[in-house]
Amino acid sequence: MVPRQVLRIGWALVLLLVALASSSVPARAVSSDLEPLVGKLSERSLSTKAQTIREIAEVGSAEAKALLETLLAGQVYYRKDDRRVVLVEEQDSAFAIRDAFSGEALGQAEKRSLKRVVINNSIRGFLRGAIARLSLRAEDPDDRLHAVESLYDELTPDTVELLKSRLVEETDDEVQDAIRVALALAALDSADPAERAAAAQRLAESMDQVVHVRLSALVREQDGDPDASVRAAAQSALREIDQNRSLYSVVETLFFGLSLGSVYVLAAIGLAITFGVMGVINMAHGELMMLGAYTTWVVQQALPDRLEQSIFFAIPAAFLVSALVGVAIERGVVRFLYGRPLETLLATFGVSLFLQQAVRSIFSPLNRAVSTPEWMSGQYVVNDALAFTYNRLYIILFASVVFAFLVVILRYTTLGLQIRAVSQDRNMARAMGIKSARIDSATFGLGAGVAGLAGVALSQLTNVGPNLGQSHIVDSFMVVVFGGVGNLWGTLVAGLTLGVSNKLLEPLTGAVLAKIIVLVFIVLFIQRRPRGLFPPRGRSAEA
């Protein structure tokens, strides 16, 4: 097993290097091995490249690690004419390049005169592992954690020794736990059955995939552990792990359901106002969301340097754009059709087609790429069996904020009071001096603006394209009708219920059937209770 030995040498080198670095002796002596290797990176064959990269990892110096990192980031190129390997700085029309080994600046180069050192998945996997291993003493506890976890698969006696010594120095609890898991995993290979059984017992605490795989291998009928006590220990550990896992998976499903539900609520809540409060069937609601999503894109294009913050500018912008278009639709089309639902439906459907094609003509039929800010990507890892993705967490949060915002507007502001008055009894409201036509516009604009907000959220989850609206309009109507027309709380409960039930069904039936079952359920439900979960009561019910 050459790689094992190589790894061992690598480790020795890492240790040596750390020793050298800590006594502040320049590490040049080790790095001189690096120079010929760097030159070899311009080889085209992927297997030669993999070999070279392995050798670079063996050098193990801080420079080697930095080089591996730039390789993984895709910044290493070579010049086509002299095959000199260079690091590339800027990604505009020209590149600022410097020598990959010495760091000496080489000026600018044409994009076409350079070729990237292409790596494939197996090299990328190796790079990640190698970098992680070189980070066992990193400052950041997360890096150290990764480093330890990346060792689970290759626990040689040397690494075990190294981990043991790390355990004494380690201050972070999580990293300590990870090291303990690694040591227990190593102990599973011990010759002593009692030690193996004890290790299996200790592993019951860990939710790591590798642990599960190893324990399952121990209890297998044909090639499991020869010792019965070890098998029993592994069996009980597995049982405990599986129990925890199923618990976590329920939590996970609930989270998925809530986040899907929040998307439903966001998409439907604007409709709950226009359809629910005003009784206007607005088929262009989806396109108003689409406009919100496109606004997000435009804002992002306008602020290329502020990718991380642009979304905060996009939220008010999307609200305004959609609200203005909404008011225009109300003033231009809907207001002539009050009391004629069928015509309203057709007219707004026409508006929706018009908006779609307008977007196709202005922005092209291709989808637009809205990039997700860094702080919204990734996940909050509880353990290997449970993690919450950040974008979904933020969507849930955003949906709650929007919902609260609407409830506050409708309940505590003059506008809200007037909207409610008009929706309950238009004539009486007018008699009290409320300009009902203006309130209609404002209500429609409010609903449309909220659709724009939903568009901002959707731009982070799905495609920003001309069809964005179409794919959400049916769900939105479903939620509003199910929740009970004219009731915001109904929309909230309905959206979350549908989201959770969809996600509960999906693992059992598959996504296609789950959707159908939910639809059938709603049809049957509406048959029994035509006014939804929370039917309107009192005077507005008769209107």
Binding site: N121, S122, S377, R392, G465
Partner: protein
């Protein structure tokens, strides 16, 4: 008011017809049947532009049979029945000599009877599920054995994948492809419990549970991969979710059959780096002919940011084959071109020579690329030579005995070698 509107309509319809009459005598007409509006516009608009470019280039060179080519563009608006109507309009009213068009299988199935009835020619440029060979259709995209099977071979032999997720959108192409792949995997000794099949609706956007299932499925200690026939749009949220849930390409790679450069240009590709796609052409192919094609394209479309992709290459090959066949036959008559085109060879963009086979499919190389952060593919594997397209899959028991051959030998697209009978199309 009504009157004015009617005369306006008549005028609008009359203009193209009159324009057509004026030039009918001295041009050869090329029909373009690609959606310019609706859902499929995202992919098909580019193909319309490709044909317009090829027509322009041909006219600049020498035309064809001493005449100029003229492109007639119609918009079937991503509406499948409308495809059939527009095809009929192209053939009967515009009297085009050949049609380049369609993207989805359902649109092809919808126009097929029209082309067979009116005996005209259709060049279909997109990878598809196979199980078809019409006398009037030339399939310049990949058949399953030119895309799906080699991709699976690559994962199995070069990456060492033991567990398979077959994920697809719920319609005919993924269902058929996955049926073929499942049969193929089982023939290679993959156990039932190591295959997970999952279908999702069109435009599916909530991938949380599915990705979480894939993660669990892939965490069983064996190398796993996802073979994705997920259609266009739904891929973006799928890959985003993979990235967010921390499924990286080196742990569980996804190989896709519907994700190309064009689709990637609408995506933030950072979370996708390292995932795979199998095609017969990538924009990053290193060949002189490809460089000049890209330059042509950038010049024609007047933008250096536009990408080229596999179906464009298929149109490039198909168009050149048709031109050669017309020159060989000395006429644009469909029957004569049908005969002349079999065996015609033209260069493809990856530096080889593609050939039209008797089953109306072509030979192509198969390339596997890894997605890079600039939206391009780095080619990591390719077949040694060109792979001939197989209309009827060898891995489905009912199709393995069927053969397609449009030469004198059989003159049939659906010939059962066991019963020695020629059945008609099934559409």
């Amino acid at each position: 008011m009504m009157h004015a509107l009617r005369s306006l309509m008549i005028a609008l319809f009359a203009i193209p017809i009159m324009a057509g009459l004026a030039s009918a005598a001295d041009t050869i007409k090329v029909g373009v049947l690609h959606s310019l509006s609706g859902t499929m516009a995202i992919s098909e608009t580019t193909l319309k532009d490709t044909i317009l470019m090829l027509v322009e280039d041909q006219n600049e060179k020498e035309g064809l049979l001493g005449k100029k080519l003229e492109a007639v563009v119609v918009d079937p608006a991503s509406d499948w029945p409308l495809f059939a109507e527009k095809a009929r309009q192209l053939i009967e009213q515009e009297k085009v000599d050949v049609v380049f068009g369609c993207w989805t299988s359902v649109s092809r199935k919808s126009v097929l009877p029209v082309f067979e009835e009116l005996n005209s020619l259709l060049f279909y440029p997109v990878q598809y599920e196979g199980e078809e060979s019409s006398k009037n259709v030339f399939y310049t995209g990949a058949a399953p054995n030119q895309q799906a099977i080699p991709a699976v071979d690559y994962l199995m032999n070069d990456v060492g994948v033991k567990r398979w997720v077959l994920a697809g959108t719920d319609y005919v192409y993924p269902r058929t492809t996955n049926k073929i792949l499942e049969a193929y995997l089982k023939s290679k000794g993959v156990a039932e419990e190591d295959i997970m099949i999952n279908y999702t609706p069109f435009g599916h956007s909530d991938w949380q549970s599915i990705v979480s299932d894939i993660k669990k499925f892939g965490g069983a200690g064996k190398k796993s991969a996802v073979v994705s026939t997920i259609n266009g749009d739904a891929n973006v949220p799928f890959y985003k979710e993979l990235g967010n849930q921390g499924v990286s390409a080196d742990s569980i790679p996804v190989v896709a059959f519907s994700v190309g450069e064009e689709e990637l240009s609408g995506i933030d590709t950072k979370p996708l780096v390292g995932h795979l796609a199998a095609w017969n052409y990538f924009m990053s192919v290193d060949s002189g002919i490809n460089d000049s094609f890209i330059d042509d394209w950038h010049g024609f479309i007047d933008s250096r940011d536009r990408v080229t992709n596999d179906p464009m290459e298929a149109h490039f090959i198909g168009f050149n084959m048709w031109v050669k066949a017309v020159e060989k036959a000395g006429t644009t008559d469909p029957a004569a071109v049908q005969k002349a085109i079999i065996g015609i060879e033209t260069p493809n963009l990856s530096g080889g020579i593609s050939k039209m086979l008797p089953n109306h499919h072509i030979t192509k190389p198969v390339l596997i690329g890894e997605i890079q952060d600039d939206g391009q593919f780095a080619i990591v594997w390719e077949t040694g030579g060109l792979v001939p397209g197989d209309a009827w899959s060898d891995f489905l028991p009912e199709s393995s005995v069927v053969e397609a051959d449009w030469t004198e030998r059989l003159n049939c697209g659906n010939y059962n070698t066991k019963t020695q009978k020629c059945s008609g199309q099934k559409f």
